[in-house]
C-alpha cells in the first residue's frame, strides 16, 4: 500500500501540474511563456481590464451559464424525482437517452444542433448556446439530484399528506428544503460546465462570442498569451471555488438525509 500511495501522490502531481504552472506565468513579467521566470508583475491582470471585447464575452458567458444552469437543474429535478420515486414503462431506455450527452462527443451535439437551426432558417446566438448547454448539463444535474432524492425518506412526505398538505404544498414545504443542498450543488456544477464549455459555443454562438470562444481566438496572438495566463488563473480559481462550494452543499445534503454516496458521478 505504501508504494501505491507514492504512486497516487505522483499521479495527483501529474493531474495538477498544468494548473500549478498557470499562476507562475500569469505573474511573470516575460512575454514569452517559458522558463526561466523573470520577475513578478501584475501587469497582465491589469491588461485584462483594458480588453473590452473580453468583457462583452464574459457578460455573454455569465448570461448563458446562469440560464443554462437554471434550465438544466429544473429539467434535472423532474427526471430525478421520476426515477427515484416511480417506476414507469421504458424507464431504462428513456433515462439512457437523457443521459446520452455524458458520453456523446460534444462536436456531434454541436453540428447536429447547428444543422437543425440553419435548416429552420433561424440564426444562431446566445439562445442556441443555452439550448445546447442545457442539454449537456442536464445529465450532470440528474446524477447529483438523483442521489439527493434517493436519500430522502418518503415517510416524511407521507406524514405531510396525512396532515392535510396537498402534493404541491408538500413539495414546497417538505421535499424542496430537504433536497435544496442537492439543487444548489446541481446549479453550481451546471454553471461551471456552461462557463467552461467551448465546442458547442464555438459552433452555435453566432456574432457574440462566449468567454472560452474569445479565449480561443486570443491564443492566435502571441502578444496576448500572458493575458491568457492571467485570465486562465482567474477562471481556474473561480471553478475550484464553485466546485468546492457545490461539494460542500452536496455533503451537507447527504448528512441531512443521512446517506453519503460520495462523489459527483
Amino acid at each position: 500500500m505504501k508504494s501505491l500511495k507514492t504512486y497516487a501522490i505522483l499521479y495527483l502531481i501529474f493531474l495538477y501540474a498544468p494548473i500549478f504552472l498557470l499562476p507562475l506565468f500569469a505573474f511573470n513579467s516575460s512575454t514569452i511563456i517559458a522558463f526561466p521566470l523573470e520577475s513578478f508583475t501584475t501587469e497582465w491582470f491589469t491588461q485584462l481590464l483594458t480588453l473590452s471585447e473580453m468583457h462583452g464575452a464574459l457578460l455573454n458567458s455569465l448570461k448563458i451559464a446562469v440560464t443554462s444552469a437554471v434550465l438544466a437543474t429544473t429539467l434535472g429535478i423532474f427526471a430525478a424525482m421520476a426515477v427515484s420515486r416511480y417506476s414507469f414503462p421504458g424507464q431504462k431506455g428513456i433515462m439512457g437517452f437523457i443521459m446520452l450527452p455524458l458520453v456523446l462527443p460534444e462536436i456531434i451535439v454541436a453540428v447536429s444542433l447547428l444543422i437543425v437551426i440553419l435548416r429552420m432558417g433561424l440564426d444562431t446566438g446566445a439562445w442556441s448556446v443555452i439550448a445546447g448547454h442545457t442539454l449537456i448539463c442536464t445529465p450532470f444535474a440528474i446524477a447529483i439530484l438523483q442521489s439527493a432524492f434517493a436519500a430522502l425518506d418518503p415517510s416524511l412526505e407521507e406524514a405531510a399528506y396525512d396532515l392535510g398538505e396537498t402534493p404541491a404544498s408538500t413539495f414546497r414545504l417538505v421535499t424542496l428544503p430537504l433536497v435544496m443542498p442537492g439543487i444548489i450543488s446541481a446549479l453550481l456544477i451546471s454553471f461551471t460546465i456552461s462557463m467552461d464549455e467551448f465546442i458547442i459555443a464555438f459552433f452555435l454562438t453566432g456574432a457574440e462570442p462566449t468567454l472560452p470562444v474569445y479565449l480561443f481566438s486570443m491564443l492566435r496572438f502571441p502578444k496576448l498569451l500572458p493575458a491568457v495566463m492571467a485570465l486562465g488563473t482567474i477562471l481556474v480559481v473561480l471553478s475550484i471555488l464553485l466546485i468546492t462550494i457545490a461539494e460542500f452543499f452536496r455533503r451537507r445534503g447527504a448528512k441531512r438525509t443521512g446517506n453519503d454516496t460520495g462523489g459527483f458521478l
Binding site: K5, A79, S87, V103, I107, V111, G232
Partner: protein, 300 residues
C-alpha cells in the same frame, strides 16, 4: 369519454405519475438530441448547393467520398488509434489509483481523495490543453527542465505538434473519467469475499487476480467506454497540440461545416465516426459479457 377517462386514471397510477414527471426532460432530449441526430443522418444523404440550400435528392456520394478519399480514411484511422491508445493508457494508469482510494484510504478520507482527483476536470478544458503546449513545447517546461538537469542536450522535438502530444494531453484530460467508475466498482466488492479467499489459502496476488479483478470488471468496462467514446470526437486537443500530423476526424468535421460549407459531407463523417464507435463499443460490451460469463462457468 371512456378513453379520456382511462387516460386520466392512468396518470394517477405510479406509472402514470412517473411518465408525467419525466416527460419535460424526455421531451427536451427528444427535440434537442433525437431530432438533430436524425437530421444529421438525413442530411448526410443530401448535396449542398448554396450557403443554406441543399439538393434533397437521395445520394450516397458523400459516403463514397468519405470512405474512398485517403485523407478522410487516414483521419478516421488516426482518431481510432489515438482514442484506443488514450483509453488503454488512462485505464491502466487509473486502476491502481482507484484501488488505492478504495482499499488503502480510511473511509472518512475517501470522498476527499475523489474530490481532489475530480477538481482538475472542472477547470477550463481549453486552458488545460493550452498548458500542455507550454509544457511540451521546444522551449517548454519539460525540455528546459530536462536540459537544466542535464538529462538531454538538445530539446526533444517529438513531443509537440504530433500524435504523441495529442495522446499525452488527452490521457491527462480523461484521467478522472477512468478512475471514478473503477472506484465505484471496487467499493461495491464485499470485503468478506476477499477474507474468505485468504482464509482458503490463496495468496494476496491470487486473491487480487481471482476475486478482486473479476469483480471490478464492470467498472473497467465502463471506464473504457466513458474514455473511448468522447475522445474520438475531440476537437480542441488535436487542434492546439497536434500540428498538421496530429489532426483528428473532429477537425475535419469542423472544417467541412464552418469553412468548406459542405454540411452533408461533414454530417457523413460525423455519422460514420458515431457508427464505428458504436460498433466497437457494442463489440467490446459483448466480449466483456462473454468473458464474465465464461468465468462463471469455470467456477462451477
Amino acid at each position: 369519454m371512456a378513453a379520456s377517462d382511462r387516460i386520466r386514471r392512468f396518470f394517477r397510477t405510479e406509472q402514470g405519475i412517473g411518465m408525467l414527471l419525466v416527460s419535460p426532460t424526455a421531451l427536451y432530449a427528444l427535440l434537442l438530441l433525437a431530432v438533430p441526430l436524425i437530421a444529421i443522418f438525413v442530411i448526410s444523404f443530401w448535396t449542398q448547393t448554396g450557403v443554406r440550400d441543399f439538393d434533397t435528392a437521395f445520394t450516397l456520394a458523400n459516403y463514397k467520398e468519405a470512405l474512398t478519399d485517403p485523407l478522410y480514411r487516414q483521419l478516421m484511422l488516426r482518431s481510432l488509434m489515438v482514442s484506443g491508445l488514450v483509453t488503454l493508457i488512462t485505464v491502466v494508469l487509473a486502476f491502481p489509483i482507484a484501488y488505492f482510494v478504495s482499499f488503502g484510504v480510511k473511509p472518512e478520507h475517501k470522498s476527499l481523495w475523489i474530490f481532489l482527483i475530480t477538481i482538475p476536470f472542472w477547470t477550463s478544458y481549453l486552458i488545460r490543453v493550452f498548458l500542455w503546449k507550454v509544457i511540451l513545447g521546444y522551449n517548454g517546461v519539460l525540455n528546459s527542465g530536462l536540459q537544466a538537469v542535464g538529462i538531454i542536450d538538445e530539446p526533444l522535438s517529438f513531443i509537440l505538434y504530433n500524435v504523441n502530444a495529442v495522446i499525452i494531453t488527452l490521457a491527462h484530460a480523461y484521467a478522472p473519467f477512468a478512475i471514478l467508475p473503477i472506484f465505484v466498482a471496487l467499493e461495491k466488492i464485499d470485503r468478506s469475499l476477499l477474507e474468505a479467499s485468504r482464509d482458503l489459502g490463496e495468496s494476496r496476488t491470487m486473491t487480487f487476480l481471482r476475486v478482486t479483478l473479476p469483480l471490478a470488471a464492470p467498472g473497467v468496462v465502463a471506464a473504457v467506454l466513458i474514455v473511448f467514446i468522447p475522445t474520438i470526437g475531440d476537437y480542441v486537443t488535436p487542434r492546439l497540440v497536434g500540428g498538421p500530423g496530429g489532426l483528428m476526424i473532429a477537425n475535419m468535421i469542423q472544417t467541412q461545416f464552418l469553412r468548406l460549407n459542405n454540411a452533408p459531407l461533414g454530417a457523413t463523417l460525423a455519422v460514420l465516426a458515431m457508427l464505428i464507435v458504436a460498433v466497437i463499443a457494442i463489440a467490446f460490451l459483448l466480449l466483456g459479457n462473454r468473458a464474465a460469463g465464461g468465468k462463471k462457468g469455470a467456477r462451477k
